[in-house]
Symmetry: D2
Subunit: 342 residues, 4 copies
Amino acid sequence: MIIVMKKNSQKEEILKVSHQLQEAGFHCHLVEGTEKTIIGAVGDKSRLMNIPLEALPCVEKVIPILAPYKLTSREFKPEDTLIRVGNITIGGSELQVIAGPCAVEGKEELLLIAQIVKQAGASILRGGAFKPRTSPYSFQGLGEKGLQYLALAREKTGLPIVTEVIDTASVDLVAYYADIIQIGARNMHNYALLKKAAKTNKPILLKRGLSATIEEWILAAEYIITADNPHIILCERGIRTFETYTRNTLDLSAVPIIKYLTHLPIIVDPSHGTGKWRWVSSMAQAAVAAGADGLMLEVHPCPEKAFSDGAQSLNPDNFQKLMTNLNNLAPYISKKEKLNHA
Amino acid sequence: MIIVMKKNSQKEEILKVSHQLQEAGFHCHLVEGTEKTIIGAVGDKSRLMNIPLEALPCVEKVIPILAPYKLTSREFKPEDTLIRVGNITIGGSELQVIAGPCAVEGKEELLLIAQIVKQAGASILRGGAFKPRTSPYSFQGLGEKGLQYLALAREKTGLPIVTEVIDTASVDLVAYYADIIQIGARNMHNYALLKKAAKTNKPILLKRGLSATIEEWILAAEYIITADNPHIILCERGIRTFETYTRNTLDLSAVPIIKYLTHLPIIVDPSHGTGKWRWVSSMAQAAVAAGADGLMLEVHPCPEKAFSDGAQSLNPDNFQKLMTNLNNLAPYISKKEKLNHA
Amino acid sequence: MIIVMKKNSQKEEILKVSHQLQEAGFHCHLVEGTEKTIIGAVGDKSRLMNIPLEALPCVEKVIPILAPYKLTSREFKPEDTLIRVGNITIGGSELQVIAGPCAVEGKEELLLIAQIVKQAGASILRGGAFKPRTSPYSFQGLGEKGLQYLALAREKTGLPIVTEVIDTASVDLVAYYADIIQIGARNMHNYALLKKAAKTNKPILLKRGLSATIEEWILAAEYIITADNPHIILCERGIRTFETYTRNTLDLSAVPIIKYLTHLPIIVDPSHGTGKWRWVSSMAQAAVAAGADGLMLEVHPCPEKAFSDGAQSLNPDNFQKLMTNLNNLAPYISKKEKLNHA
Amino acid sequence: MIIVMKKNSQKEEILKVSHQLQEAGFHCHLVEGTEKTIIGAVGDKSRLMNIPLEALPCVEKVIPILAPYKLTSREFKPEDTLIRVGNITIGGSELQVIAGPCAVEGKEELLLIAQIVKQAGASILRGGAFKPRTSPYSFQGLGEKGLQYLALAREKTGLPIVTEVIDTASVDLVAYYADIIQIGARNMHNYALLKKAAKTNKPILLKRGLSATIEEWILAAEYIITADNPHIILCERGIRTFETYTRNTLDLSAVPIIKYLTHLPIIVDPSHGTGKWRWVSSMAQAAVAAGADGLMLEVHPCPEKAFSDGAQSLNPDNFQKLMTNLNNLAPYISKKEKLNHA
């Protein structure tokens, strides 16, 4: 931790700050510059305490040196974390594609789309039973019935299923049905939910918050890993910016950065990342070329009739074309083999 | 709802879209422009359905005309909503100041600061017992003990108390103690929590999400009001932007806009809005001059020792000076009288 | 300057970096932490060199300690800079209001509005003769004829005039007519223009760039002051954020921050800051309460017929009402007296 | 254009607005909804006029239907624009890589890096002679001497050169030496510069502004094309967001969107887009997979000694590795063949 003192700070002020740091268990190194004095504070566990020295008028700013996360960091665990679901591995040499409708809308529709995405090469089925919607008047999902349809689709196709949980009260219910539990972007900061979901010991797919920095996102994963669940898949899904042409701005630089800072696998959701089916395939290819471990895609048999997110869902034809392209592309990305089932 | 068709759309395509809208209960008006055709779709309740026509290749975009919220809108209820807590009214002619520490840290500290803020003219006491923290290693609050200390401080000072609830499991506990239940910025999108908190029928102080648009924020309030709780206070607390000098960018234009679009009272939190005590007083004055119904301020007897948010907490002296300024300023803002207790 | 070495950096790597810094004239202080080593580099003028140590794989990051600006900083010159234009002072105890149309549209219209704003208490007249427009198809201003009309309005009313310059070629022309030269938000980064405008030795009104940080904005002022022109007025006019309800997000925290970091006066433009006349008066009051030295307001005799920015222009009635409110408010803001001419 | 009237607007108000539109040459279609009335205004050239109806209290908002740009749009010219420079084509089936140092630092250094990037497969040499720098104390470029060194490097290697122009005064000078004239991000809104550069009739490489929307960027290109220069290459280089881990957020969705909305070629600059050499190669691959026509990369023989942007420059080894990867990848992107010279 570096403490920058204001210009013309008095010696006593500098000593007072050093003293306070020493009391908190830090060793202090003074560096007197030509204009300002800085204090380098070295300490161990105490670094986790957030001493609010900026409250002092003589302190200009406090600059942390160490990352605030630990167990998720690659410095802590250099080798890649692999997530195994059935006979599928996320984070290894195969590219995994999660596909399916935004929301589970009915039994027949789900079984149909599950067959379609499986045949095209998807390895995991997605579908929302509990939907967090900006408006209370929007379709909120089928609830447990949706989970049952997902389980049925798994039975028929062999595809593992991922579905979102939106409150602590339904964590156990969702965990009973799901192979992977999704925490959505709106809930990335919902720490009670992160901890409760972690306890199920199911793999957690953790989406980046709408306006979460990469550091905050990793700290959300740290909540899960400190609750003894290391089975975490991060999912970049676009961040909120001033650009309104797309629903979000897909931040693909998160892919190499997450791989550098952490040992966790990262997948990309270009459906939410763009908000429009027209841009999904290009961004899916780009995500794979950036080194993503997988993709999460919304596919609907008839997008213009979808209950939610129809505008960003691929229809079966476009999904099939994309999968063919990815299959050609994947071998040329370092460490990625062909698609799993293709 | 306006549907803009792509240039050179075929007549059949336009008819197909119109037909689909008519099936959903809309009346359609075609406006053929020199370059593009648009369809004006008029309907009633069906407007709440989100027909994903953008999924059709022939549709360029869909533009909603009506606001997606209803019960919170001033068009629905033209007169101001007043929130009564004890003998205090929020949203009326008096400016209300909520003050206290970020987190309840101990009994003596809380009773001390409660006396201080009361004497300076605050009318409501704040203090967090459950703290949503970005890092799992940060202080997470005293839990129920914190709530008990708050109740004690209320007993000693007569100040009503506002405190945050961070998960559905503790809503009833928080409601048992609190006069006003706070939903924090990170939970503005936590719809399960909004609905559960609404059911307590206590006034809800709803903070704007870190990157929530004004419309999304009003929709979050719509979740509360549709759960039959109209006692909502909105709180602007800064939004996330590219500027890093401040913790957030306080969007004071939200004050007149919320008053224009809704009938709900709005207060401002310049402590989170700036992240630094040094800018809090100026922004507090600005908020009042913009027409805010109140302020929410972090005050700590010794900010440099605070367990959380010390850097943005006012010390008692600066708080006292600010209150004196506000007391002078308030009468010159249209419809605001002097401070409550001053 | 602080250099943070990557974890497990070799001793030779640390020495190599220190050596490179020493060659550049820095004194180096090593602080060995429990996890990482940091190098504190102390130097004088050499600080201005931007040694790209982050290009080295062993360097995690480089953190500057000193602000990159100097002559504009309050540390360099503690007392307020006052700008004198005719018998008016900007940055002193009086609040100054600059008002007028977005663009000069014609002689009669300008003379009319000049009279109106003068009578309401404005002390400086604004009006654009050269307009930087996002679209090549929008009205681009009357050019020199517009400047001549401004000069005529000054003659008739006695109000000094401020007008924008948009390229180096017309700097001398604009300086011939204007009392204050405006550099618009789009040109804040146009360093050639900053330097050329500075050479006129006229006061420069420097608007904040659409997405400029406060530091970048001060550095733009540093371009002017290093070209020997200290007569600079900064103008906050809103920044670009995700919020689309307003044209920009007015960052009023810039007011106290600029006053803290620099010795320059700062005014606020709530017309561009909100983009909508409906919110201008509230934000103007808020700006004054935040401590601004003045306001810049678009006023048009008939906004719905304005050639540009009609939506954000006040009509004469609303401007008059605002001025009355400001006149009541100003005395209660520390160090501000009543409005100049009121 | 759609005009949404406020709820409960009087018939006379609606007629008055319609009348004003008709006077301006529009045909009006009224659509009376259950809550609000909208006016669909159809017109031709008059659409370019910006009638500020939002200035009227009875008007809620005005929604434009047609894009504000024309000559750059794919609707206007469906076939791709190809830019020919020497025997190289940008926008065709070959991927073009522009590489070289951020700034020209000296003759020998430039000739060295020119040879290196050529051998690795780059087809165009980049290098700045005039540098727009945020700080007046940073290295500002070698000026005309830098241009002469670039010309020499072209002579020795046969690579065409691209270099930036930063003010109107040096446009002719830069055009004398350069094969492609670059307009940097900070100058995208500098309309005087756009028009002057256009007049040279050289191809213009137009970078996206730091916080420019895609629409504003296309409008900047419209300034060039309406000045009779259709030889425009757009360059995505990252936008400003709240994320601070990267210098900018590279918005790769701009690639398919620009290709959809316009007929112009688009390249990507992942050096500025990330600000850190470590992420450049991943993002370069992603850009190609998204469909970019080329890349612009900073390469320096010894990045840790670069005068500017060292942190984001690739060293020769990493550049060579990237080029090998791209060469493998390119054939699998639709319509892209192998790299030009490889």
